[in-house]
């Protein structure tokens, strides 16, 4: 029997709390039932019985639609992320705060895209993040007159390197530069935090895989769009786990018909098995969904196989994110009249 070193009370507490919080998550059967609902009102009725009840019941019935519900799902996701950060301390708190920064990154991306399109955006279009957990002045970014000013507002934050990305942005006129930089900065910070965690190996494995796979998807997507190599390189996440920079370069530089074979040589070959056709037809959306679905199953497996390890907590957070995405897909899909079969094919189940 393998013996673990004595664990801190804080660690035991957070894992125990995560077990309790996990029971609030919707089970795959619940998601299946919701996907079969005939309309949005049936889904709303079902949601009134769970964790979303308070927020959903606060919306006037005439304002219930996929957009207002999506706002609630992401508000709940932010609450779940920041609750975990709030009940931890030290290196754990730093890790969970930085893990939750993916919401902040998503908000910055949305603002920059809108500013690039010379349109206006309101704070309602962003995921609500409690002021104490973010160093980014979102109201100022939203109110900035253009993209330059929005990026300038990030000067005093960890996203300051975006200012250096302005030159490349102006050269290629694409926000992909900033999106790549943001992901890179996010994972760099998180990767640094992981090294200081107790029981770091499992978490390294979980975060590292997500980081590498996101990098591969990013590279494949940009390659499918025939973007110049310099732009692809600049848009990639600069931290690596099992992936080597050389492998990513091979994926970028190899002829499209050879991409699958190159991927088969990487540590992540099993994620791409059966995706040869999608890759051949540049159906990156389906590749992306298939890979994230694999990650969803892996994280669910972590929760059942390692219930007493710290990795249980980030796996729970990952499932929270998948739940928000699933609920968004179901409510929006229902509103748009997507068939049940089609809806199920794009869910993480």
């Amino acid at each position: 029997m393998k013996l673990f070193p004595l664990r801190s009370p804080g660690l035991i507490y957070i894992v125990t709390r995560a077990h309790g919080l996990r029971t609030h998550l919707l089970k795959p059967e619940d998601i299946s039932v919701l996907s079969k609902a005939p309309d949005l009102s049936t889904i709303v009725e079902a949601l009134l019985k769970g964790d979303y009840a308070q927020d959903v019941s606060a919306i006037p019935s005439e304002k219930i639609n996929a957009i207002s519900l999506t706002e609630i799902f992401y508000k709940k996701l932010a609450d779940r992320f920041y609750f975990i950060a709030k009940i931890t301390s030290g290196s754990l708190r730093k890790f969970f705060e930085d893990y939750a920064k993916r919401l902040e990154v998503e908000n910055i991306k949305r603002i920059l895209r809108v500013k690039h399109g010379k349109e206006t955006i309101t704070e309602e279009a962003l995921v609500p993040i409690p002021r104490e957990y973010t160093a980014v002045n979102f109201p100022a970014m939203v109110g900035a007159k253009d993209l330059d000013e929005s990026v300038g507002i990030l000067k005093e934050t960890i996203y300051a390197p975006l200012i250096d990305g302005m030159e490349l942005y102006k050269r290629y006129n694409t926000t992909l530069i900033f999106e790549g930089l943001l992901d890179s900065l996010y994972f760099k910070e998180l990767w640094y935090d992981v090294q200081k965690l107790p029981e770091k190996d499992d978490i390294r494995n979980m975060i590292g895989k997500e980081m590498d796979l996101k990098n591969l998807i990013l590279a494949l997507g940009l390659k499918a769009k025939n973007q110049p190599a310099e732009l692809i390189e600049a848009s990639l996440i600069k931290s690596y786990y099992k992936l080597k920079k050389r492998m990513i370069s091979n994926v970028i530089q190899e002829r499209p018909e050879m991409t699958f074979d190159v991927l088969m040589e990487t540590y992540y070959s099993r994620y791409f098995q059966g995706l040869r056709d999608f890759l051949g037809k540049d159906m990156i959306g389906d590749v992306e969904h298939s890979i994230f679905n694999s990650l969803f199953h892996e994280h669910s497996k972590i929760m059942s196989e390692k219930p007493l390890r710290l990795v249980f907590v980030p796996a729970y957070l990952s499932l929270c994110e998948f739940e928000a995405r699933n609920l968004t897909t179901i409510t929006t899909g229902k509103q748009l009249g997507l068939s049940e079969e089609r809806l199920r094919s794009i869910l993480f189940l």
Partner: protein, 204 residues
Amino acid sequence: MSSAIRAAATKGVLLRLREQLAFIEKGKEILEMKREQLAGEINHLLAEVKIRGELEKGIMDSYEHLKKAHSMLGYQNLQSMALTVSQINVSGLTYSVMGVVVPELRIEKEIDISNVPSGIAYEAAEKLSKLLRKIIRLGESEAKIEKLVDEFMSTNRKVNALDQIVIPSISSSIRYIEGRLYEEMLEEFIRTKHIREVIRRRRA
């Protein structure tokens, strides 16, 4: 026929009517040629608008992709991604086909979807952007057909009017005058013959 009756049965009028008939027949020929040209042009354009069914199917398919992207990403996220797409720039010009002014749409700047970050949103954008060019071409062809068909119908009416009213009427006037002149000539001939006979009898 009434104009034929009203027309003075003189050789001068006959000559003028014959000249008029020749001129009108030449005009009719030209109009027929124009009608044929227009018909050819319309037929050519009709082949182009046959893609409408296929295009409608393509649009439905693209909307399915868009619905999928919309469902997977949510409205706010998809909308922010949509704003990274640079707008298409189309200018409208006109040119003349057989004297008919028809519109021509020129794509000055293609739509650029390469900035769309998500794979699923990119697929939807790619499908829609490919269709956009076809939709513009179809719109242009349909507008051209509308203009050309108007002109074709007007030309057809003119040819029919010439063929069934103007030419038969002038031809009938010509025939009437020719008949009258022939009768007058016969009358004159008999009268002359009769006078000659009277003179010959008096001399005898």
